[in-house]
């Protein structure tokens, strides 16, 4: 079994308009590598020029922000759901 990745609308042009993709990865960092290998060009949208995840993008593993987990080294298991969501304001 793989992990399910929810792709935000602006990035679906890289995934042939798929809102959800299924990939094999054991950590968030590895997931970025696999995403790039599967959908070339997507890494530069997810990461800044230093290779860090962009600060205005939020990554969630099973609804938990990875900044509350282990950031890029957060482990992934089969069946996990990863969402990528741009930051929003409000109140």
């Amino acid at each position: 079994m793989a992990v399910q990745v929810l792709i935000p609308t602006p990035l679906q042009k890289y995934t042939a308009d798929q809102a959800t993709v299924s990939l094999e990865a054991t950590s968030v960092a590895e997931l970025i590598d696999v995403l790039e290998a599967t959908f070339p060009g997507i890494r530069q949208r997810l990461c800044d020029e230093n290779g860090k995840l962009r600060r205005f993008l939020n990554f969630y593993v099973n609804s938990e922000d990875i900044r509350f987990l282990e950031n890029e080294t957060t482990a992934l298991q089969a069946g996990d759901e990863v969402s990528i969501v741009p930051a929003v304001a409000g109140g």
């Binding site: 993008l57 509350f68 969402s83 409000g90 109140g91």
Partner: protein
Amino acid sequence: MGAEDQLDPNSGKSRSELSALILKGDDAVSVWSERVSVVTISLTPATLSGSTFTGLRCKECGQLYDAGPRHVCEDVCFGPLEVVYDYELIRSRVSRATIEAGPVSIWRYRDFLPVATDPIDVGTGFTPLLKADRLARALGLTSLYIKNDGVNMPTLSFKDRVVSVALSRARELGFTTVSCASTGNLANSTAAIAAHAGLDCCVFIPSDLESGKILGTLVYNPTLMAVKGNYDQVNRLCSEVANTYGWGFVNINLRPYYSEGSKTLGYEVIEQLGWQLPDHIIAPLASGSLFTKICKGFQEFVQVGLVEEKPVRFSGAQAEGCSPIAQAFEEGRDFIKPVKPHTIAKSIAIGNPADGPYAIDIARRTGGSIAAVSDAEIVEGIKLLAESEGVFTETAGGTTIAVLKKLVQQGRIDPSETTVAFITGNGLKTTEAIASSIGAPFTIEPQLASFTEAWERAQAHHAVSSPAH
């Protein structure tokens, strides 16, 4: 649903089809010129001779976009988008006199707002700027003002400003259903102004909100989704709904327009101070958007020559139970570590504040501070403002007053500075927060003796609880 998808009522063609016609040979242009000129005006507000905004720009990387329903830099870095204005056009059009002759609402500043057609005017804005002499004395200040958006119309919080702008723009962009993720006040405002404008409305809140805020949304009969989670989880859900349902979310795909409404707080303070800037402002920080837009409002009035430039210090207030911006400020960081909120100040309980880095930058650049106070201090802040100035604010306002007190005690606000504290919401919406910390009535018989006995007790009680009086 974008402007491109709307049909021109004259020709029945979409904007993109008509654009294609314009690009064809001379014959096509001559045949279509009359209609095309009409169509261009009705479907491309950014080029309207009447509007002063020209598009959107990424605040991080500068990428330009047209003025559609989008909020992040989709093509490059996912940074937030901001409205771009033609300030020369604004400068040529506005003066102190034209503004003073305008409506008694935020729409007297219409040339500074991203709306191309007649806006939804429900009397939002131009709230009192109260000279707070008794509170100033209690704190050791000499020139303090309260900007009281607790009496803003129609729903008693500053959110009416942002929602009036967002829904005016939503209607122009063709949305028929509007929505938001809210900590309470935004839901009240979106539901009320949608009702007035005849728009369908579905709003999302965390399920643990104060009953006043839930009731104050339901009375307008929107669809209300109470989500079992905190605000950040609600927002994440709404981002996914916005992607798929094609609704206008005031704080998501309409955010660049929505957030501009907060600038009017800055304009009003300048006008109400007699066309002058204050020396120091203090405002509550949730996402950080209000704070940055008050700053932008000040800068714009300087830029177009409406007010003389001078340094203004910006200080921000958070609750200790949700203080990611204050923590980053104190630790000298320029990035935010999200937190999980736990505070009575629910209206400002945003653990992952999108504009936090900008708020920190403004506070540092202007010599201001960002600090946090405990829930007990927030309750004391609510009571202090009520007892000294007759203004009953909600928990966010209590936070602001408590942080103001703290910063004065720490010497971070100069007693001689003209200081403005922004009160953003009304206390009647969060009565739970103070119900156990205020007095009780003296229940008496309808007889003079009963009153006399109770009055003596009251005076004794007053002498004990308020020795300073």
